[in-house]
């Protein structure tokens, strides 16, 4: 397991690798979309074509759960969620920046006994390979879904929980964000850890070929999980908004 630099601020511990990773993926999303939309033409260029394809794709995702008019309202949410997770997932596969450390750096949370385990310090990794990031995204989606349910009708929202099987619905409210977050985290985390294991434990002429195959599979899994996370987020919100609940 590689080390990550950590900073304690106001009693909370922040993982710098995750913060750099999420900032970098947010910056990539911002720059790509700004570049693609700046000089819009009737005959789109390569980049504009690509982003239009992604927008059409997210419109398809949104239309799976909402009716056509509401889908346009949620298009921005769907598009940015999908693109952010897609790029964040690929970050750890394509580029892992790590540095060697030979002295303890107490201000970054790297102590002597941790250095005995490994000298590698990674400065950049997939933000979605950290459970805190995915949990916060899933909880934000769950809170927004419940808010939309309450705004639709307060009576209908609570009637749902007071039915004979209401306890099951209460449990469901907690298990939904938990599995939503764990599904994305576990896929990306397992992918990254296996790459690190193959890079560090064993000669490269034995692990090289399986590692390349696994990296290709990780790119594929990252794309599918980004898609599934976005679809499920929309489904959870649409469930609360629909009238039969």
């Amino acid at each position: 397991m590689e080390l990550t630099p950590k900073v304690t601020f106001l009693g909370l511990t922040f993982d710098l690798a995750v913060i750099f990773g999420s900032l970098l993926s947010a910056a990539i999303v911002l720059i790509v979309t700004i570049l693609a939309t700046r000089g819009r033409k009737m005959r789109p260029g390569k980049l504009q074509n690509l982003v239009e394809m992604v927008i059409d794709f997210s419109r398809g995702i949104a239309r799976m759960s909402y009716d056509d008019r509401t889908a346009e309202k949620y298009l921005g949410f769907t598009f940015s969620l999908f693109l952010f997770i897609l790029i964040a997932n690929q970050l750890g596969v394509i580029m892992m920046v790590s540095a060697e450390a030979h002295h303890a750096i107490p201000s970054l949370g790297i102590t002597e006994e941790l250095l005995k385990q490994s000298h590698e310090i990674s400065w950049l990794k997939s933000p979605t390979a950290d459970l805190n990031v995915t949990i916060s995204m899933a909880v934000a989606v769950a809170l927004f879904a419940n808010y939309m349910g309450l705004r639709k009708s307060v009576k209908g929202y609570f009637k749902h929980f007071l039915s004979p099987l209401g306890v099951l619905h209460v449990i469901e409210e907690f298990s939904k964000p938990a599995t939503h977050a764990m599904r994305l985290w576990a896929n990306i985390f397992a992918g990254e850890v296996l790459i690190v294991i193959m890079l560090t434990k064993g000669p490269i002429y034995l692990t090289g070929l399986p590692m390349l195959a696994w990296m290709g599979f990780s790119v594929f899994v990252g794309a599918i999980q980004a898609y599934i996370f976005t679809v499920l987020a929309n489904v959870y919100i649409a469930q609360k908004m629909s009238s039969d609940h």
Partner: protein
């Protein structure tokens, strides 16, 4: 022997077993569907991949927790 390592190994093994059973069911039906209606392949492929991602989720959660146990993080 450290029991954490045994626990992690058992978790990963059973996760692989479950994923194998689930995926084999899914892809067997997918091939069956293509054999009956070859023209619906492109439509079925997308649906199969979504379901593949959903099935793969629980085994991979087991694998991730198993890895954490193997390395002694939890």
């Amino acid at each position: 022997m450290d029991l954490n390592i045994l626990a992690g190994a058992i978790m990963i093994a059973f996760a692989a077993l479950g994923a194998a059973i689930g995926n084999s069911n899914l892809f067997a039906k997918y091939i069956e569907g293509i054999a009956r209606q070859p023209e619906s392949q492109s439509k079925l492929f997308g649906q199969t991949m979504i379901l593949f991602g959903l099935i793969e989720a629980l085994p991979i959660i087991g694998v991730a927790l198993g890895i954490l146990l193997l390395f002694g993080v939890i």
